[in-house]
């Protein structure tokens, strides 16, 4: 048995789980809101010519099928995207009921969930950034050292081969982990918040024209959605790594703080 070490301090553990709740609810209520107008554009307003994504229905052989269009490409996504099973049988809706909050089409309620947890996410995020700065977490654990930057190729190869550090080396975040966490915390999450603000007509008025930096309100809506998909991709990799490097050990370390160092 490896040594049991105290790995995650209490504030980080609390903020991690608050984040889990916020991100899951924001994602699912966000898809509910998206369903009210399931198309994305790259412009200030919603012009047909600037449409980059659309989830809709197509009539084929007298049947309605769910399709997803990304740029010039069309995919048959019937059963999941565009047309899926709800409480009353098949219904035309972009994202299916099992992944939206609430389940049925209910925009007003989706917005209530989204905005409450958006505030919580921002509060948690601000607390986290302050904590990383003042506790030394950022400098000590998150920023890679020069030596670690040089080892990036080896780290990438090890990850792809599912080889994980053991012993002393396992005590620190590896460089790919550092890059992933830093990108999410200081890149993707701020972008998602900015995109959300840009969709608020009142927020838009406080600094005239700032929404144009993001390409306009509808482009900001696309960025908001794209950043959410990046978060989903990050979560998929994160969960995969959590499972293959020892689910129970990792879960315990994020609950109690104690982590057994692999030998």
């Amino acid at each position: 048995m490896g040594e049991l070490i105290y790995r995650h301090r209490l504030p980080v553990r609390i903020m991690h789980w608050v984040n889990v709740v916020c991100l899951v609810i924001l994602l699912m209520s966000g898809l509910q809101i998206f369903n009210a107008h399931p198309a994305l554009y790259w412009s200030e307003d919603s012009r047909e010519g600037t449409k980059v994504l659309e989830i809709t229905q197509k009539q084929a052989d007298g049947q309605s099928r769910g399709v997803t269009r990304i740029g010039p490409f069309e995919f048959d996504t019937d059963g999941v995207l565009g047309n899926s099973r709800g409480a009353d049988g098949m219904e035309p809706r972009a994202f299916p009921a099992w992944i939206t909050i609430p389940g049925p089409q209910w925009l007003a309620m989706g917005r209530l969930w989204h905005f409450f947890f958006a505030w919580l996410l921002v509060a948690n995020g601000v607390a986290y950034v302050l904590w990383t700065l003042f506790s030394g977490h950022l400098r000590r654990d998150l920023l890679p050292t020069r030596g670690e930057w040089h080892g990036i190729g080896r780290s990438l190869r090890d990850h792809l081969l599912l080889r994980h550090p053991r012993g002393e080396e396992a005590r620190r975040y590896n460089v790919l982990q550092n890059i992933a966490y830093l990108t999410i915390v200081f890149g993707v999450l701020p972008l998602i918040v900015l995109g959300g603000w840009a969709m608020s007509p009142m927020m838009d008025s406080f600094v005239p024209g700032w929404v144009d930096w993001l390409g306009g309100r509808q482009a900001a809506r696309t960025l908001h959605f794209g950043a959410a998909m990046l978060l989903v991709a990050f979560l998929a990799v994160h969960l995969f790594e959590v499972v293959i490097t020892g689910l129970v050990n990792n879960l315990r370390s994020m609950i109690t703080g104690y982590w057994r160092q692999p030998e």
Binding site: H37, S46, W98, I101, L107, L112, W113, W119, M203, S205
Partner: protein, 264 residues
Amino acid sequence: MKKPRPFYEQRRERRGFLRAGLAAAAASSGLAGCDALSSNETAVAVLRSAERLTNTVHRALGRRAMAQEFPPADIAPTFRPNGTTMPVGDIYAAMLASGFADWRLTVDGLVANPLELSLAQLQAMPSRTQITRHDCVEGWSCIGQWKGVRLSHVLNLAQLKPGAKYVVFHCLDRMEEDNEESLYYGSVDLDDAFHEQTLLAWELNGRPLPVENGAPLRARIERQLGYKQPKYLRRVQVVAGFGDIGAGKGGYWEDQGYNWYAGI
């Protein structure tokens, strides 16, 4: 004698059970949990608390901030109508047939000087023209040019009495075809009512306001979503509170559960 099934088939079946079990657990704990909370009064009240926070913070950031205005080249080829596009009933049909000659806008409530204004009287008042982006709660946007009189001008003519806190817009269109009581209405606070860009508009993209966009007169509240900008206006009522109007939430969509503050 029954042949035992190959191991891999049993495994697949077990995996099927496992998957169904996981899906059921997820549905009952997560999603169904949220669905149950969505119809729980206390839970919804907690979720709704964010609305006041947003409203307060937004007002602290700037009461008079101006919505972005755009150059004429940005005007959308057609302005997308939404909600009512043709009010039902004989009253509106008759008004439309006569070119709104008999239509009047009533301004009353907590005012010293109630008004009855014809379209011609409104159009004789100082006007403002603005090209702004209309943002629908559904998610789409559309840029259009509006011309109308500032609501502040009309309210100043009517002279607000002490205690006035909100302006309620009453409309001609019913939201349920066979329910005469289901007339659209909405309300804003005095910050939005007296805002520089808040108009009673009779013109869209240089032409008289089309029926589908709210003829003869609609409100433009540029820093809030589309459902806060009532069409087919008939009455502007100044009030201290809106608890006794409709279902008491300040507007038709608000009565259906949408936020009263729609600056996001």
